[in-house]
Amino acid sequence: MNTLDQLFWESPFTEMVIKVSTTYCFVIVLILIIQKKGYLKHTFFSIAMLLSTVLFVIASAMFFKYQYDKYRRLESRNDEYLAPQNMFKTEGSEPYINSLKNELEELRFSIEDLTLLSEWKENRNGIMGYETSLLSSAKSFDEDDFSMQNILKETVITQFENEEYSQQYWNKVFNIVFGYIEEKDYYNSPHYQATAIIPVTYEKSNYSTNGTEMSPAHYKYIEEEGNTAYIQRKIKSTIRSKNNIENFWTKNKAFIYTFFSKSKYDELCKPVVDDLIDIHDKITKELGYRAFYAKYDEQDSTFINFHSKKFPETYYISWPFGFWDRRFGENNDETVYKVLKEIQEHYSE
Protein backbone atom coordinates (compact mmCIF):
# COMPACT_ATOMS: atom_id res chain seq x y z
CA MET A 1 0.00 0.00 0.00
CA ASN A 2 1.43 3.17 -1.21
CA THR A 3 0.52 5.39 1.64
CA LEU A 4 2.02 3.08 4.23
CA ASP A 5 5.21 2.88 2.21
CA GLN A 6 5.24 6.62 2.09
CA LEU A 7 4.62 6.76 5.80
CA PHE A 8 7.42 4.42 6.69
CA TRP A 9 10.07 5.48 4.28
CA GLU A 10 9.44 9.08 3.36
CA SER A 11 7.56 10.89 6.06
CA PRO A 12 9.65 12.69 8.67
CA PHE A 13 6.84 11.93 11.09
CA THR A 14 7.88 8.32 11.48
CA GLU A 15 11.41 9.34 12.20
CA MET A 16 10.29 11.54 15.05
CA VAL A 17 7.97 8.92 16.53
CA ILE A 18 10.75 6.39 16.52
CA LYS A 19 13.19 8.84 18.04
CA VAL A 20 10.86 9.81 20.88
CA SER A 21 9.74 6.24 21.59
CA THR A 22 13.31 5.04 21.61
CA THR A 23 14.32 7.79 24.00
CA TYR A 24 11.42 6.94 26.27
CA CYS A 25 12.22 3.21 26.28
CA PHE A 26 15.84 3.96 26.88
CA VAL A 27 15.02 6.16 29.83
CA ILE A 28 12.69 3.50 31.29
CA VAL A 29 15.26 0.78 30.89
CA LEU A 30 17.86 3.00 32.49
CA ILE A 31 15.63 3.64 35.49
CA LEU A 32 14.88 -0.06 35.82
CA ILE A 33 18.54 -0.97 35.72
CA ILE A 34 19.37 1.62 38.32
CA GLN A 35 16.52 0.37 40.46
CA LYS A 36 17.56 -3.24 40.05
CA LYS A 37 21.02 -2.30 41.18
CA GLY A 38 19.40 -0.84 44.20
CA TYR A 39 20.53 2.75 43.74
CA LEU A 40 17.06 4.09 43.69
CA LYS A 41 14.56 4.22 46.48
CA HIS A 42 11.11 3.05 45.50
CA THR A 43 9.48 6.45 45.69
CA PHE A 44 12.08 8.03 43.49
CA PHE A 45 11.72 5.15 41.08
CA SER A 46 7.99 5.65 40.88
CA ILE A 47 8.38 9.41 40.41
CA ALA A 48 11.04 8.89 37.74
CA MET A 49 8.82 6.45 35.85
CA LEU A 50 5.83 8.76 36.13
CA LEU A 51 7.84 11.77 35.00
CA SER A 52 9.20 10.00 31.92
CA THR A 53 5.75 8.78 30.99
CA VAL A 54 4.28 12.26 31.43
CA LEU A 55 7.01 13.69 29.23
CA PHE A 56 6.18 11.03 26.66
CA VAL A 57 2.51 12.02 26.79
CA ILE A 58 3.34 15.68 26.35
CA ALA A 59 5.45 14.86 23.31
CA SER A 60 2.59 12.74 21.92
CA ALA A 61 0.12 15.54 22.50
CA MET A 62 2.35 17.95 20.60
CA PHE A 63 2.61 15.44 17.78
CA PHE A 64 -1.08 15.05 17.67
CA LYS A 65 -1.70 18.78 17.57
CA TYR A 66 0.82 19.27 14.84
CA GLN A 67 -0.61 16.55 12.65
CA TYR A 68 -4.15 17.66 13.23
CA ASP A 69 -3.33 21.22 12.27
CA LYS A 70 -1.58 19.99 9.18
CA TYR A 71 -4.62 17.94 8.26
CA ARG A 72 -6.96 20.90 8.60
CA ARG A 73 -4.65 23.05 6.55
CA LEU A 74 -4.35 20.62 3.66
CA GLU A 75 -8.02 19.88 3.65
CA SER A 76 -8.97 23.52 3.24
CA ARG A 77 -6.34 23.94 0.53
CA ASN A 78 -7.71 20.97 -1.41
CA ASP A 79 -11.24 22.20 -1.02
CA GLU A 80 -10.29 25.53 -2.48
CA TYR A 81 -8.34 24.30 -5.48
CA LEU A 82 -10.21 21.17 -6.35
CA ALA A 83 -13.77 22.36 -5.85
CA PRO A 84 -16.22 20.87 -8.31
CA GLN A 85 -16.99 24.23 -9.86
CA ASN A 86 -13.27 24.69 -10.58
CA MET A 87 -13.02 21.20 -12.01
CA PHE A 88 -15.72 21.61 -14.58
CA LYS A 89 -14.70 24.99 -15.79
CA THR A 90 -14.24 24.81 -19.56
CA GLU A 91 -10.50 25.14 -19.38
CA GLY A 92 -8.68 21.85 -19.27
CA SER A 93 -11.84 19.79 -19.22
CA GLU A 94 -12.14 16.56 -21.12
CA PRO A 95 -15.21 17.48 -23.24
CA TYR A 96 -13.64 20.76 -24.34
CA ILE A 97 -10.45 19.05 -25.42
CA ASN A 98 -12.44 16.49 -27.37
CA SER A 99 -14.34 19.24 -29.12
CA LEU A 100 -11.03 20.86 -30.08
CA LYS A 101 -9.78 17.53 -31.44
CA ASN A 102 -12.91 17.21 -33.56
CA GLU A 103 -12.48 20.70 -34.88
CA LEU A 104 -8.92 19.84 -35.86
CA GLU A 105 -10.07 16.79 -37.80
CA GLU A 106 -12.73 18.70 -39.65
CA LEU A 107 -10.13 21.06 -41.00
CA ARG A 108 -9.15 18.30 -43.45
CA PHE A 109 -5.49 19.22 -43.78
CA SER A 110 -2.48 19.11 -41.51
CA ILE A 111 0.14 21.82 -41.43
CA GLU A 112 2.50 19.70 -43.54
CA ASP A 113 -0.23 19.25 -46.16
CA LEU A 114 -0.94 22.95 -46.20
CA THR A 115 2.74 23.76 -46.56
CA LEU A 116 2.79 21.63 -49.69
CA LEU A 117 -0.36 23.26 -51.02
CA SER A 118 0.93 26.78 -50.53
CA GLU A 119 4.20 25.78 -52.19
CA TRP A 120 2.14 24.55 -55.11
CA LYS A 121 0.14 27.71 -55.26
CA GLU A 122 3.41 29.62 -55.49
CA ASN A 123 4.86 27.10 -57.89
CA ARG A 124 2.21 27.47 -60.54
CA ASN A 125 3.14 31.11 -60.68
CA GLY A 126 6.41 29.84 -62.09
CA ILE A 127 4.66 29.16 -65.35
CA MET A 128 3.14 32.61 -65.21
CA GLY A 129 6.64 33.98 -64.72
CA TYR A 130 7.85 32.25 -67.85
CA GLU A 131 4.81 33.51 -69.72
CA THR A 132 5.63 37.04 -68.62
CA SER A 133 9.26 36.94 -69.58
CA LEU A 134 8.42 35.37 -72.93
CA LEU A 135 5.84 38.03 -73.70
CA SER A 136 7.91 40.98 -72.56
CA SER A 137 11.00 39.75 -74.34
CA ALA A 138 9.13 39.11 -77.57
CA LYS A 139 7.44 42.48 -77.42
CA SER A 140 10.79 44.24 -77.42
CA PHE A 141 12.39 41.78 -79.81
CA ASP A 142 13.67 43.21 -83.03
CA GLU A 143 15.27 40.72 -85.31
CA ASP A 144 17.55 43.25 -86.92
CA ASP A 145 18.98 44.10 -83.54
CA PHE A 146 20.45 40.67 -83.21
CA SER A 147 23.80 40.95 -84.74
CA MET A 148 24.95 38.88 -87.64
CA GLN A 149 27.12 36.73 -85.49
CA ASN A 150 24.28 35.60 -83.30
CA ILE A 151 22.24 34.64 -86.31
CA LEU A 152 25.18 32.70 -87.64
CA LYS A 153 25.59 30.97 -84.33
CA GLU A 154 21.96 29.87 -84.45
CA THR A 155 22.57 28.50 -87.93
CA VAL A 156 25.55 26.52 -86.72
CA ILE A 157 23.47 25.06 -83.90
CA THR A 158 20.58 24.16 -86.19
CA GLN A 159 22.98 22.47 -88.61
CA PHE A 160 24.37 20.44 -85.81
CA GLU A 161 20.89 19.40 -84.74
CA ASN A 162 19.99 18.30 -88.23
CA GLU A 163 22.86 15.83 -88.24
CA GLU A 164 21.76 14.25 -85.04
CA TYR A 165 22.96 10.78 -84.28
CA SER A 166 24.61 9.85 -87.52
CA GLN A 167 28.21 8.67 -87.65
CA GLN A 168 29.18 12.07 -89.02
CA TYR A 169 27.48 13.67 -86.06
CA TRP A 170 29.40 11.63 -83.50
CA ASN A 171 32.68 12.18 -85.28
CA LYS A 172 32.01 15.89 -85.10
CA VAL A 173 31.09 15.76 -81.42
CA PHE A 174 34.20 13.86 -80.39
CA ASN A 175 36.48 15.99 -82.50
CA ILE A 176 35.12 19.06 -80.81
CA VAL A 177 35.18 17.62 -77.31
CA PHE A 178 38.74 16.35 -77.57
CA GLY A 179 39.96 19.43 -79.35
CA TYR A 180 40.98 17.93 -82.67
CA ILE A 181 43.34 20.07 -84.69
CA GLU A 182 43.05 19.03 -88.28
CA GLU A 183 46.28 20.58 -89.53
CA LYS A 184 48.35 18.65 -87.05
CA ASP A 185 46.10 15.55 -86.79
CA TYR A 186 46.36 15.97 -83.08
CA TYR A 187 43.99 16.07 -80.11
CA ASN A 188 44.45 19.06 -77.89
CA SER A 189 42.29 18.07 -74.92
CA PRO A 190 42.67 14.39 -74.17
CA HIS A 191 41.01 12.58 -71.24
CA TYR A 192 40.39 14.85 -68.25
CA GLN A 193 40.93 18.02 -70.23
CA ALA A 194 37.87 17.18 -72.28
CA THR A 195 35.68 17.49 -69.22
CA ALA A 196 36.37 21.23 -69.20
CA ILE A 197 35.18 21.76 -72.78
CA ILE A 198 32.12 23.75 -71.86
CA PRO A 199 33.04 27.28 -70.78
CA VAL A 200 31.31 28.71 -67.75
CA THR A 201 30.48 31.93 -69.54
CA TYR A 202 30.78 33.00 -73.09
CA GLU A 203 33.17 35.86 -73.50
CA LYS A 204 32.46 38.75 -75.73
CA SER A 205 34.23 38.19 -78.99
CA ASN A 206 37.17 40.35 -79.84
CA TYR A 207 36.05 40.53 -83.41
CA SER A 208 34.36 43.68 -84.51
CA THR A 209 31.12 43.49 -86.40
CA ASN A 210 31.28 46.70 -88.33
CA GLY A 211 30.03 46.20 -91.79
CA THR A 212 28.81 42.92 -93.19
CA GLU A 213 32.17 41.38 -94.05
CA MET A 214 33.50 38.89 -91.56
CA SER A 215 37.00 37.47 -91.60
CA PRO A 216 37.42 33.69 -91.85
CA ALA A 217 38.90 33.67 -88.37
CA HIS A 218 35.76 35.38 -87.14
CA TYR A 219 33.60 32.75 -88.81
CA LYS A 220 35.67 30.05 -87.22
CA TYR A 221 35.30 31.63 -83.82
CA ILE A 222 31.52 31.80 -84.17
CA GLU A 223 31.41 28.22 -85.40
CA GLU A 224 33.32 27.06 -82.33
CA GLU A 225 31.08 29.02 -80.04
CA GLY A 226 28.02 27.62 -81.75
CA ASN A 227 29.31 24.08 -81.46
CA THR A 228 30.04 24.28 -77.77
CA ALA A 229 26.71 26.04 -77.22
CA TYR A 230 24.96 23.16 -78.98
CA ILE A 231 26.76 20.57 -76.88
CA GLN A 232 26.02 22.48 -73.72
CA ARG A 233 22.34 22.74 -74.59
CA LYS A 234 22.24 19.06 -75.44
CA ILE A 235 23.85 18.09 -72.14
CA LYS A 236 21.41 20.23 -70.19
CA SER A 237 18.28 19.03 -71.95
CA THR A 238 19.00 15.31 -72.21
CA ILE A 239 16.88 13.34 -69.81
CA ARG A 240 19.11 11.52 -67.40
CA SER A 241 16.77 8.71 -66.47
CA LYS A 242 18.13 5.16 -66.32
CA ASN A 243 16.01 4.13 -69.29
CA ASN A 244 16.98 7.05 -71.40
CA ILE A 245 20.68 6.57 -70.76
CA GLU A 246 20.48 2.88 -71.59
CA ASN A 247 18.46 3.46 -74.76
CA PHE A 248 20.66 6.30 -75.90
CA TRP A 249 23.79 4.22 -75.38
CA THR A 250 22.36 1.16 -77.10
CA LYS A 251 21.26 3.17 -80.10
CA ASN A 252 24.55 5.00 -80.55
CA LYS A 253 27.31 2.72 -79.33
CA ALA A 254 28.08 1.36 -82.76
CA PHE A 255 29.00 4.85 -83.95
CA ILE A 256 31.09 5.46 -80.86
CA TYR A 257 33.01 2.23 -81.21
CA THR A 258 33.62 3.12 -84.84
CA PHE A 259 35.13 6.47 -83.97
CA PHE A 260 37.37 5.20 -81.19
CA SER A 261 39.96 2.79 -82.40
CA LYS A 262 41.85 1.09 -79.59
CA SER A 263 44.72 3.50 -79.81
CA LYS A 264 42.44 6.53 -79.88
CA TYR A 265 40.53 5.17 -76.90
CA ASP A 266 43.72 4.58 -74.96
CA GLU A 267 44.88 8.10 -75.69
CA LEU A 268 41.66 10.01 -75.17
CA CYS A 269 39.40 8.06 -72.84
CA LYS A 270 41.08 5.23 -71.01
CA PRO A 271 42.42 7.14 -68.00
CA VAL A 272 39.06 8.70 -67.23
CA VAL A 273 37.04 5.51 -67.72
CA ASP A 274 39.43 3.44 -65.63
CA ASP A 275 39.49 6.04 -62.85
CA LEU A 276 35.72 6.35 -62.79
CA ILE A 277 35.25 2.60 -62.45
CA ASP A 278 38.04 2.26 -59.92
CA ILE A 279 36.73 5.07 -57.75
CA HIS A 280 33.17 3.81 -57.95
CA ASP A 281 34.30 0.40 -56.73
CA LYS A 282 36.14 1.93 -53.82
CA ILE A 283 33.39 4.38 -52.89
CA THR A 284 30.65 1.79 -52.87
CA LYS A 285 32.60 -0.45 -50.51
CA GLU A 286 32.18 2.07 -47.71
CA LEU A 287 29.06 1.73 -45.60
CA GLY A 288 26.65 4.61 -45.82
CA TYR A 289 28.32 6.11 -48.88
CA ARG A 290 25.06 7.27 -50.39
CA ALA A 291 24.16 9.24 -47.31
CA PHE A 292 27.65 10.72 -47.20
CA TYR A 293 27.46 11.91 -50.77
CA ALA A 294 23.94 13.19 -50.34
CA LYS A 295 25.25 15.54 -47.68
CA TYR A 296 27.76 17.29 -49.91
CA ASP A 297 26.91 19.51 -52.82
CA GLU A 298 28.41 18.87 -56.16
CA GLN A 299 31.57 20.95 -55.91
CA ASP A 300 34.51 18.73 -56.69
CA SER A 301 36.66 20.33 -54.04
CA THR A 302 34.67 19.04 -51.08
CA PHE A 303 35.64 15.41 -51.39
CA ILE A 304 38.83 15.66 -49.47
CA ASN A 305 38.03 13.77 -46.32
CA PHE A 306 36.08 10.78 -47.45
CA HIS A 307 37.68 7.38 -47.17
CA SER A 308 40.94 8.91 -46.15
CA LYS A 309 42.67 12.14 -46.82
CA LYS A 310 45.20 10.46 -49.08
CA PHE A 311 42.66 8.66 -51.21
CA PRO A 312 41.42 11.46 -53.48
CA GLU A 313 44.94 12.89 -53.67
CA THR A 314 46.23 9.75 -55.30
CA TYR A 315 44.07 10.50 -58.27
CA TYR A 316 44.87 12.97 -60.97
CA ILE A 317 42.03 15.29 -59.99
CA SER A 318 38.99 14.97 -57.79
CA TRP A 319 36.50 15.33 -60.65
CA PRO A 320 35.47 11.63 -60.62
CA PHE A 321 34.21 12.00 -57.07
CA GLY A 322 31.97 14.86 -58.05
CA PHE A 323 30.90 12.83 -61.06
CA TRP A 324 29.65 9.97 -58.90
CA ASP A 325 28.10 12.36 -56.40
CA ARG A 326 25.98 13.79 -59.19
CA ARG A 327 25.10 10.31 -60.44
CA PHE A 328 24.01 9.24 -56.96
CA GLY A 329 21.83 12.30 -56.81
CA GLU A 330 20.27 11.52 -60.20
CA ASN A 331 19.81 7.90 -59.21
CA ASN A 332 21.29 6.59 -62.43
CA ASP A 333 24.71 5.49 -61.13
CA GLU A 334 24.04 1.78 -61.70
CA THR A 335 23.26 2.31 -65.38
CA VAL A 336 26.19 4.66 -65.93
CA TYR A 337 28.53 2.18 -64.23
CA LYS A 338 27.23 -0.62 -66.42
CA VAL A 339 27.92 1.40 -69.56
CA LEU A 340 31.42 2.31 -68.38
CA LYS A 341 32.21 -1.31 -67.58
CA GLU A 342 30.99 -2.33 -71.03
CA ILE A 343 33.26 0.23 -72.65
CA GLN A 344 36.22 -0.83 -70.56
CA GLU A 345 35.70 -4.46 -71.47
CA HIS A 346 35.23 -3.71 -75.15
CA TYR A 347 38.62 -2.06 -75.34
CA SER A 348 40.46 -4.47 -73.11
CA GLU A 349 40.62 -7.27 -75.70
Binding site: S21, T53, V57, I97, T132, A138, F141, F146
Partner: protein, 270 residues
Protein backbone atom coordinates in the same frame (compact mmCIF):
# COMPACT_ATOMS: atom_id res chain seq x y z
CA UNK B 1 1.18 4.05 41.15
CA UNK B 2 1.79 1.52 38.47
CA UNK B 3 -1.76 1.85 37.33
CA UNK B 4 -1.33 5.61 36.91
CA UNK B 5 1.79 5.07 34.90
CA UNK B 6 0.06 2.55 32.68
CA UNK B 7 -2.96 4.83 32.12
CA UNK B 8 -0.76 7.81 31.27
CA UNK B 9 1.30 5.60 28.94
CA UNK B 10 -1.89 4.45 27.21
CA UNK B 11 -2.99 8.04 26.69
CA UNK B 12 0.40 8.79 25.15
CA UNK B 13 0.22 5.82 22.79
CA UNK B 14 -3.35 6.72 21.78
CA UNK B 15 -2.24 10.24 20.91
CA UNK B 16 0.58 8.86 18.77
CA UNK B 17 -1.90 6.55 17.06
CA UNK B 18 -4.18 9.45 16.17
CA UNK B 19 -1.25 11.50 14.99
CA UNK B 20 -0.27 8.65 12.68
CA UNK B 21 -3.79 8.49 11.35
CA UNK B 22 -3.79 12.15 10.47
CA UNK B 23 -0.38 11.87 8.87
CA UNK B 24 -1.74 9.17 6.59
CA UNK B 25 -4.69 11.33 5.61
CA UNK B 26 -2.38 14.23 4.90
CA UNK B 27 -0.30 12.10 2.60
CA UNK B 28 -3.42 11.16 0.67
CA UNK B 29 -4.57 14.75 0.45
CA UNK B 30 -1.19 15.78 -0.89
CA UNK B 31 -1.22 13.03 -3.47
CA UNK B 32 -4.68 14.03 -4.65
CA UNK B 33 -3.69 17.65 -4.88
CA UNK B 34 -0.53 17.01 -6.87
CA UNK B 35 -2.25 14.69 -9.23
CA UNK B 36 -5.01 17.15 -10.00
CA UNK B 37 -2.59 20.01 -10.49
CA UNK B 38 -0.45 18.05 -12.95
CA UNK B 39 -3.49 16.78 -14.86
CA UNK B 40 -4.73 20.31 -15.14
CA UNK B 41 -1.35 21.50 -16.37
CA UNK B 42 -1.20 18.71 -18.89
CA UNK B 43 -4.71 19.39 -20.08
CA UNK B 44 -4.14 23.11 -20.32
CA UNK B 45 -0.95 22.46 -22.24
CA UNK B 46 -2.74 20.03 -24.48
CA UNK B 47 -5.58 22.44 -24.95
CA UNK B 48 -3.27 25.31 -25.80
CA UNK B 49 -1.39 23.11 -28.25
CA UNK B 50 -4.62 22.15 -30.01
CA UNK B 51 -5.79 25.74 -30.10
CA UNK B 52 -2.49 26.85 -31.65
CA UNK B 53 -2.68 24.16 -34.29
CA UNK B 54 -6.22 25.10 -35.19
CA UNK B 55 -5.34 28.77 -35.48
CA UNK B 56 -2.30 28.15 -37.68
CA UNK B 57 -4.24 25.84 -39.96
CA UNK B 58 -7.08 28.29 -40.27
CA UNK B 59 -4.65 31.08 -41.09
CA UNK B 60 -3.00 28.95 -43.71
CA UNK B 61 -6.31 28.10 -45.33
CA UNK B 62 -7.28 31.77 -45.35
CA UNK B 63 -4.07 32.68 -47.13
CA UNK B 64 -4.60 29.94 -49.66
CA UNK B 65 -8.14 31.03 -50.37
CA UNK B 66 -7.12 34.60 -51.03
CA UNK B 67 -7.65 35.69 -54.56
CA UNK B 68 -4.45 36.02 -56.45
CA UNK B 69 -3.51 39.56 -57.29
CA UNK B 70 -0.96 38.58 -59.86
CA UNK B 71 -0.07 41.42 -62.11
CA UNK B 72 2.61 41.53 -64.71
CA UNK B 73 4.31 44.33 -62.86
CA UNK B 74 4.80 42.14 -59.82
CA UNK B 75 6.20 39.24 -61.72
CA UNK B 76 9.84 40.17 -61.36
CA UNK B 77 10.48 37.70 -58.58
CA UNK B 78 9.17 34.74 -60.50
CA UNK B 79 11.09 32.49 -62.84
CA UNK B 80 12.53 34.24 -65.79
CA UNK B 81 14.12 33.08 -68.95
CA UNK B 82 17.09 35.03 -70.13
CA UNK B 83 15.93 35.41 -73.70
CA UNK B 84 18.66 37.78 -74.71
CA UNK B 85 21.03 34.93 -75.14
CA UNK B 86 21.49 34.34 -78.84
CA UNK B 87 20.45 30.72 -78.41
CA UNK B 88 16.92 31.76 -77.88
CA UNK B 89 16.64 33.89 -80.95
CA UNK B 90 14.13 31.50 -82.44
CA UNK B 91 12.12 31.43 -79.22
CA UNK B 92 11.78 35.17 -79.46
CA UNK B 93 10.75 34.85 -83.10
CA UNK B 94 8.18 32.26 -82.18
CA UNK B 95 6.57 34.28 -79.44
CA UNK B 96 6.48 37.34 -81.68
CA UNK B 97 4.70 35.32 -84.34
CA UNK B 98 2.32 34.07 -81.69
CA UNK B 99 1.52 37.61 -80.64
CA UNK B 100 0.87 38.62 -84.24
CA UNK B 101 -1.20 35.64 -85.29
CA UNK B 102 -2.43 34.23 -81.98
CA UNK B 103 -1.13 30.77 -82.76
CA UNK B 104 2.15 28.93 -83.03
CA UNK B 105 4.03 28.34 -86.24
CA UNK B 106 5.82 25.14 -87.18
CA UNK B 107 7.82 23.74 -84.29
CA UNK B 108 7.53 26.85 -82.19
CA UNK B 109 5.73 25.15 -79.34
CA UNK B 110 8.56 22.63 -79.03
CA UNK B 111 11.23 25.31 -79.01
CA UNK B 112 9.48 27.30 -76.34
CA UNK B 113 8.68 24.32 -74.13
CA UNK B 114 12.25 23.04 -74.48
CA UNK B 115 13.56 26.43 -73.45
CA UNK B 116 11.32 26.45 -70.39
CA UNK B 117 12.19 22.88 -69.45
CA UNK B 118 15.91 23.54 -69.72
CA UNK B 119 15.47 26.23 -67.12
CA UNK B 120 12.61 24.94 -65.00
CA UNK B 121 13.17 21.22 -65.11
CA UNK B 122 10.68 18.60 -66.27
CA UNK B 123 9.52 17.46 -62.85
CA UNK B 124 9.03 21.04 -61.71
CA UNK B 125 6.95 21.71 -64.80
CA UNK B 126 4.85 18.64 -64.07
CA UNK B 127 4.42 19.74 -60.48
CA UNK B 128 3.47 23.24 -61.62
CA UNK B 129 0.78 21.77 -63.88
CA UNK B 130 -0.57 19.73 -60.98
CA UNK B 131 -0.56 22.90 -58.91
CA UNK B 132 -2.51 24.68 -61.62
CA UNK B 133 -5.20 22.01 -61.63
CA UNK B 134 -6.18 22.68 -58.01
CA UNK B 135 -8.80 25.15 -56.86
CA UNK B 136 -7.33 26.76 -53.76
CA UNK B 137 -10.55 28.32 -52.58
CA UNK B 138 -12.10 24.93 -51.97
CA UNK B 139 -8.90 22.89 -51.84
CA UNK B 140 -10.07 20.39 -54.38
CA UNK B 141 -9.62 19.61 -58.07
CA UNK B 142 -10.45 22.53 -60.27
CA UNK B 143 -13.00 21.19 -62.70
CA UNK B 144 -12.67 24.26 -64.86
CA UNK B 145 -8.99 23.46 -65.50
CA UNK B 146 -9.53 21.69 -68.85
CA UNK B 147 -11.84 24.46 -69.96
CA UNK B 148 -9.03 26.99 -69.61
CA UNK B 149 -6.68 24.84 -71.61
CA UNK B 150 -8.98 24.37 -74.56
CA UNK B 151 -10.88 27.61 -74.65
CA UNK B 152 -10.53 29.80 -77.68
CA UNK B 153 -9.30 32.67 -75.56
CA UNK B 154 -6.70 30.57 -73.81
CA UNK B 155 -3.75 32.57 -72.54
CA UNK B 156 -0.22 31.85 -73.66
CA UNK B 157 0.27 30.13 -70.36
CA UNK B 158 -2.62 27.73 -70.94
CA UNK B 159 -1.43 27.01 -74.44
CA UNK B 160 2.05 26.23 -73.15
CA UNK B 161 0.64 23.91 -70.52
CA UNK B 162 -1.40 22.19 -73.21
CA UNK B 163 1.65 21.84 -75.47
CA UNK B 164 3.60 20.39 -72.60
CA UNK B 165 0.85 17.91 -71.81
CA UNK B 166 0.58 16.95 -75.49
CA UNK B 167 4.03 15.41 -75.22
CA UNK B 168 2.62 12.78 -72.90
CA UNK B 169 -0.10 11.56 -75.20
CA UNK B 170 2.40 9.01 -76.46
CA UNK B 171 1.80 6.02 -74.17
CA UNK B 172 5.47 5.00 -74.00
CA UNK B 173 6.66 8.47 -73.12
CA UNK B 174 3.88 8.75 -70.57
CA UNK B 175 4.76 5.45 -68.95
CA UNK B 176 8.45 6.27 -68.94
CA UNK B 177 7.94 9.67 -67.38
CA UNK B 178 5.52 8.25 -64.82
CA UNK B 179 8.03 5.60 -63.78
CA UNK B 180 10.76 8.19 -63.56
CA UNK B 181 8.97 10.60 -61.27
CA UNK B 182 6.48 8.49 -59.37
CA UNK B 183 8.71 7.92 -56.36
CA UNK B 184 9.26 11.63 -56.07
CA UNK B 185 5.57 12.42 -56.21
CA UNK B 186 4.53 9.56 -53.93
CA UNK B 187 6.80 11.05 -51.31
CA UNK B 188 5.75 14.59 -51.96
CA UNK B 189 1.99 14.01 -51.93
CA UNK B 190 0.80 12.66 -48.59
CA UNK B 191 -2.04 10.18 -48.33
CA UNK B 192 -4.28 12.86 -46.87
CA UNK B 193 -3.65 15.32 -49.70
CA UNK B 194 -4.30 12.58 -52.24
CA UNK B 195 -7.53 11.56 -50.50
CA UNK B 196 -8.84 15.07 -50.09
CA UNK B 197 -7.91 16.48 -53.46
CA UNK B 198 -7.33 13.80 -56.06
CA UNK B 199 -9.05 10.59 -55.02
CA UNK B 200 -12.53 11.52 -56.22
CA UNK B 201 -11.34 12.46 -59.68
CA UNK B 202 -9.13 9.39 -60.01
CA UNK B 203 -11.90 7.07 -58.83
CA UNK B 204 -14.43 8.67 -61.21
CA UNK B 205 -12.21 8.04 -64.20
CA UNK B 206 -11.40 4.50 -63.15
CA UNK B 207 -15.04 3.55 -62.73
CA UNK B 208 -15.99 5.28 -66.00
CA UNK B 209 -13.41 3.14 -67.82
CA UNK B 210 -14.62 -0.02 -66.12
CA UNK B 211 -18.20 0.84 -67.06
CA UNK B 212 -17.20 1.27 -70.68
CA UNK B 213 -15.47 -2.09 -70.75
CA UNK B 214 -18.56 -3.77 -69.40
CA UNK B 215 -20.68 -2.42 -72.23
CA UNK B 216 -21.57 -5.03 -74.86
CA UNK B 217 -21.28 -2.42 -77.59
CA UNK B 218 -18.91 0.40 -76.79
CA UNK B 219 -19.67 2.42 -79.94
CA UNK B 220 -23.36 2.65 -79.23
CA UNK B 221 -22.63 3.52 -75.64
CA UNK B 222 -20.40 6.40 -76.70
CA UNK B 223 -22.89 7.63 -79.29
CA UNK B 224 -25.49 7.63 -76.57
CA UNK B 225 -23.34 9.59 -74.15
CA UNK B 226 -22.29 12.10 -76.76
CA UNK B 227 -25.91 12.61 -77.74
CA UNK B 228 -26.85 13.27 -74.13
CA UNK B 229 -23.95 15.66 -73.73
CA UNK B 230 -24.88 17.62 -76.82
CA UNK B 231 -28.59 17.89 -76.16
CA UNK B 232 -28.25 18.67 -72.49
CA UNK B 233 -25.26 20.90 -73.18
CA UNK B 234 -23.59 19.06 -70.36
CA UNK B 235 -20.17 18.13 -71.70
CA UNK B 236 -18.71 18.69 -68.29
CA UNK B 237 -21.00 16.13 -66.73
CA UNK B 238 -20.06 13.38 -69.16
CA UNK B 239 -16.46 14.33 -69.45
CA UNK B 240 -15.30 11.23 -67.53
CA UNK B 241 -16.69 9.07 -70.30
CA UNK B 242 -15.88 11.14 -73.38
CA UNK B 243 -12.33 11.43 -72.02
CA UNK B 244 -11.86 7.71 -72.55
CA UNK B 245 -13.18 7.85 -76.09
CA UNK B 246 -10.47 10.35 -76.98
CA UNK B 247 -7.86 8.23 -75.20
CA UNK B 248 -8.89 5.16 -77.17
CA UNK B 249 -8.41 7.09 -80.38
CA UNK B 250 -4.93 8.07 -79.16
CA UNK B 251 -4.33 4.44 -78.16
CA UNK B 252 -3.11 5.37 -74.69
CA UNK B 253 -6.23 4.41 -72.74
CA UNK B 254 -4.82 1.15 -71.36
CA UNK B 255 -1.64 2.84 -70.19
CA UNK B 256 -3.51 5.66 -68.52
CA UNK B 257 -5.96 3.28 -66.85
CA UNK B 258 -3.07 1.19 -65.52
CA UNK B 259 -1.36 4.28 -64.15
CA UNK B 260 -4.52 5.53 -62.47
CA UNK B 261 -5.07 2.15 -60.87
CA UNK B 262 -1.50 2.03 -59.67
CA UNK B 263 -1.72 5.46 -58.09
CA UNK B 264 -5.02 4.64 -56.40
CA UNK B 265 -3.70 1.34 -55.08
CA UNK B 266 -0.57 2.98 -53.79
CA UNK B 267 -2.46 5.47 -51.68
CA UNK B 268 -5.21 3.10 -50.63
CA UNK B 269 -2.68 0.71 -49.21
CA UNK B 270 -0.76 3.33 -47.23
Amino acid sequence: MNKIIIIVLSIGITLVAYATYYEVICLDLDADFNREISTKKHKTGQEQGLKNQITSIKNYIEILEEEEHYSYQNSSHYNELDLNQPDFIRVNKCVKQYLDKNKFQDNCEDYIIDAIISDFGESNFIEAVIATAIDYRFLGTDYAFPKYLFSNNASLRSKLVLSFLNRYRDPEKLQQTFNEYKTYFYERISKNVYQQIFNNTVSDFISAYEDINQQPDADTYFKDIYFKAETQNAHGKYWNVTFWKRRMLEKNDKTIYAILKEVKNHYDSL
